[in-house]
């Protein structure tokens, strides 16, 4: 109750306050209303804006995600496409490379090879130059040889002329045609004649007498005819002492006194034998040989097999000592003994002469 009392006491003031307040509020109602509206509109605005913003953000988010998804899809497609294209490009390039190489090879091998032809033509030019120089050298050599032969020929002819015409050389007393006193110079023929030896006419080989050993005055006839009556004068230098000229002459023209052996004909014995045999045959009355016994007279002579053999009579002293008749040998190989090799012989071979000891 106390409270009620207190409250009833204050009722008037409270009612007054309420009326005052209401009045104030009424005064300020519009303001406050406007202010409230403003605050509300601001707040609503904020809320709406934030809602819209949120919605926008959500829409944007959705759109973003969607667009990203679609874009990535498209990009993926493009990427696949471009990768495929890249692969195809690569394969095309590789194929083009193969075709390039194949076509180049094929054309160069079967149709036409430019570089090898170029190389060929260059090498041909080089070879031509080489051949030309070689041929020029050989031509030069041939010409030189021909010239040399010509020169040799002229020299030979000049020499032959000079040899045959040596009598045209000038002497101290008589100048020749080539050394005429009316000409200020001597002609070259003069030097040529002076430098060559004259050719003597060929000696006619005289048919000499055969050597007759019985000719005691051998050579005396020929020499005696040519002997001058007077000998040429001796030179001033003293020579001597001299023998008597008759002695010298006798010695010089002594008759040939050959020994009996020299004087005898080489075949004198053979001829003498044959002469004796002929004389004996001529004087012989009976041609039959004398055979002492009847057996020998009646039986035919049987020669020894040794001598009648077709392998020849191996008697000592056939045509010559150590005669061999290789055409009658069974084989041309040398006769070999089968002995074991002796090392001493090798040593001897090496020390003396190869083949000195034949194994």
């Amino acid at each position: 109750m106390a409270t009620l009392h207190k409250l009833l006491k204050e009722v008037d003031s409270i009612v007054k306050e309420i009326y005052d307040q209401q009045l104030e509020a009424e005064v300020h109602r519009k303001e406050e209303y406007d202010a409230a509206v403003r605050i509300q509109s601001w707040y609503r605005g904020i809320r709406t804006r934030s809602l819209v913003k949120n919605l926008n953000r959500c829409a944007i988010r959705i759109q973003r995600h969607y667009r990203g998804f679609m874009g990535r899809r498209r990009i993926r497609a493009i990427l696949i496409d471009s990768v495929k294209r890249m692969c195809l490009d690569h394969y095309n390039k590789q194929a083009a490379q193969i075709q390039k190489m194949w076509r180049g090879f094929y054309v160069r091998k079967y149709v036409f090879d430019y570089y090898s032809r170029k190389k060929y033509l260059e090498s041909l030019v080089a070879k031509n130059e080489m051949i030309r120089s070689e041929l020029a050298e050989q031509e030069e050599a041939m010409r030189r040889e021909a010239r040399k032969r010509e020169e040799e020929e002229t020299r030979r002819r000049l020499r032959a002329w000079a040899e045959r015409h040596h009598y045209l050389v000038s002497t101290v007393v008589q100048p020749s045609v080539f050394n005429s006193p009316y000409r200020p110079f001597t002609l070259p023929e003069e030097t040529l004649l002076l430098n060559t030896r004259p050719k003597t006419p060929p000696k006619v080989a005289s048919v000499g007498h055969g050597f007759d050993p019985s000719w005691r005055q051998y050579g005396q006839n020929q020499l005696m005819v040519r002997l001058p009556s007077k000998l040429p004068p001796l030179p001033a230098k003293p020579q001597g002492p001299f023998r008597q000229p008759e002695e010298v002459r006798a010695q010089r023209y002594r008759e040939f006194q050959p020994s009996l052996r020299v004087a005898t004909d080489y075949e004198a014995v053979k001829r003498a034998r044959e002469q004796w045999r002929a004389e004996e045959w001529a004087g012989r009355l009976y041609d039959d040989e004398f055979k002492p016994t009847k057996a020998l007279r009646e039986k035919a002579y049987q020669p020894l097999m040794h001598t009648a053999s077709e392998y020849g009579h191996l008697a000592y002293g056939n045509a010559h000592f150590r005669e061999v008749q290789p055409e009658r040998h069974v084989t041309q190989d040398r006769f070999r003994t089968i002995v074991p090799p002796v090392p001493v012989f090798d040593k001897l071979n090496a020390e003396y002469v190869e083949g000195y000891v034949e194994n």
């Binding site: 032809r117 033509l121 041909l124 030019v125 070879k127 031509n128 130059e129 080489m130 051949i131 030309r132 041929l135 020029a136 050989q138 031509e139 041939m142 010409r143 021909a146």
Partner: protein, 508 residues
């Protein structure tokens, strides 16, 4: 009369006969005496002396007869008509070597003049006797017999066949191997005469193994021998590819190229003939020769020689170039075009110029490069002049025209074509203009050059029938240029301009 007096009469007669026959033989060496001798009836006097007992008189009578028959064919005919040949042939078999030599000389002298006389010699059965003589030991006899056989075989294929049928070829090949130089020469010349007529005869000679021995003698120092050897090898190889290949297999290249520089000009000529005959058959053989440096040697040979000697060289270059464009390029690179140009210019004989023109045509006809090389040597005006000269032979005309055509159809080198625009006749001009019409549409620089050098003007001056190929070409060229320029250069343009000036009314 005593025996000695009787014998003295015979001795005097023999001396008289000997002196007569020796004097006649000596007189027959000089040509001015032979007419007199013929009129004096020497033939009928010599005939009985052939049958004389004394061998010397026989031989000298045969020698005199040979010299007389050698001189001209009337006397040779008289020998044939006088029935002397059978006697000679008979005694060829019997007598000693001096008589054989003299008898073979008579046969040779008779056979050399004409095919009929050679046939008469063959009909007497001389071939067998001569072949027997080839088997003798004495080289002089062999030489005379081989010479006679060569002269017989020279005239024709039947006679050569008769010689071969007598079995002469193996013996001739044996003679070629003998050491005696003159015998080798004559045997080689006989083989050459036999093998020149037909491939079968050449094959017979080759089968006897001649090529190896001939090839060995290629490097012999004697010039006359080399002439005959090369002639023989050339005659063998000219007939077919197989024969040419067999000759080449004997390894004559490159030794043969040295003989192209021999001092003797007939050796060089025959050597060039051999190379030509080998090169003309197939491209492989030509390639072989080119690779051995043969083209350079031949080009030098053509440059150094004069006259008929260089004809085989010129033809060889043409044959080589004709086979393929590779070989034609090889000829160009070896300076062949310059040499052929010199030949065309300096030679006065028509057939050599014709050969040079033909060879140039073969070189230039393969491709534009070849035609350019030929045209740059300034050859085309010379060919044209050779074609147009009034006094040339038909052969030269035809060959130069063909060569021009071949080269022009491939030539795109316009500077060389322009001189031809002025001088060429209609049929050549067609080709020249055709080449211009091919090049000008694609090349602006050449178009400009064409105008400045006056070519366009000349084109306008050409009168062509409408519808002909020439008119078409001229049209093509005119279409490359703007109309005003074409009109400017067309003839009569200045007149039409002046007419316009006349008719023009000045605007007041």
């Amino acid at each position: 009369m005593s025996q000695r007096q009787v014998l003295q009469v015979f001795e005097q007669y023999q001396k008289a006969r000997t002196q007569f026959v020796q004097t006649v033989a000596e007189l027959a060496t000089r040509p001015q005496n032979i007419e007199t001798l013929q009129n004096a009836g020497v033939m009928s006097l010599l005939r009985p002396l052939l049958l004389d007992i004394v061998p010397t008189i026989q031989q000298t009578a045969a020698l005199a007869l040979g010299r007389l028959a050698n001189y001209n064919d009337d006397l040779a005919e008289a020998v044939v008509k006088g029935d002397i040949l059978p006697q000679l042939v008979y005694s060829l078999a019997e007598q000693n070597r001096f008589y054989k030599k003299a008898a073979a000389f008579v046969l040779r002298a008779v056979a050399k003049h004409s095919p009929e006389l050679a046939q008469a010699v063959v009909d007497c059965g001389a071939l067998d006797a001569l072949v027997i003589c080839l088997e003798e030991f004495d080289p002089g006899v062999k030489e005379s017999a081989a010479w006679a056989l060569g002269y017989i075989a020279r005239h024709g294929p039947e006679l050569a066949q008769a010689v071969v049928d007598a079995g002469a070829v193996p013996l001739l090949v044996l003679c070629v191997q003998e050491p005696d130089l003159s015998l080798k020469r004559i045997a080689a010349s006989a083989l050459s005469d036999i093998s020149k007529h037909s491939p079968e005869l050449a094959q017979t000679v080759v089968d006897a193994g001649a090529i190896a021995h001939l090839a060995q003698m290629v490097l012999n120092p004697d010039a006359k021998l080399k002439r005959q050897v090369f002639s023989a090898l050339a005659q063998i190889s000219k007939h077919s590819v197989d024969l040419a290949e067999m000759v080449v297999e004997a390894e004559i290249f490159p030794a043969v190229l040295t003989c192209l520089k021999d001092p003797d000009e007939y050796v060089r000529k025959n050597c060039a003939t051999l190379i030509r005959e080998v090169a003309k058959h197939t491209p492989e053989l030509s390639q072989l020769i080119v690779n051995a440096g043969g083209v350079a040697a031949i080009v030098d040979f053509v440059g150094d020689s004069r006259g008929n000697v260089r004809l085989p060289g010129v033809m060889m270059l043409g044959y080589v170039a004709a086979h393929s464009e590779n070989l034609a390029m090889a000829v160009i690179v070896s300076r062949g075009v310059l040499t052929l140009d010199a030949v065309l210019q300096t030679e006065s004989e028509d057939h050599i110029q014709a050969a040079a023109a033909w060879s140039l045509g073969q070189i230039g006809r393969h491709s534009p490069e070849h035609a350019k090389a030929v045209a740059q040597a300034n050859v085309l005006p010379k060919l044209l002049r050779a074609y147009l000269r009034p006094d040339v032979s038909e052969d030269l005309q035809i060959k130069s025209k063909k060569a021009l055509k071949h080269i022009l159809q491939k030539c795109v080198h316009l500077e060389a074509l322009e001189p031809l625009l002025q001088e060429a006749p209609a049929n050549i001009l067609k080709h020249v203009v055709a080449q211009f019409s091919k090049v000008l549409p694609h090349n602006p620089k050449s178009r400009r050059l064409f105008v400045t050098s006056g070519g366009l003007k000349k084109i306008q001056e050409i009168r062509a029938e409408p519808g002909s190929a020439l008119a078409e070409y001229i049209n093509t060229i005119n279409n490359c240029y703007p109309e005003e320029i074409v009109k400017y250069y067309s003839p009569g343009y200045s007149d039409s301009l002046l007419e316009r000036v006349e008719h023009y009314l000045p605007q007041t």
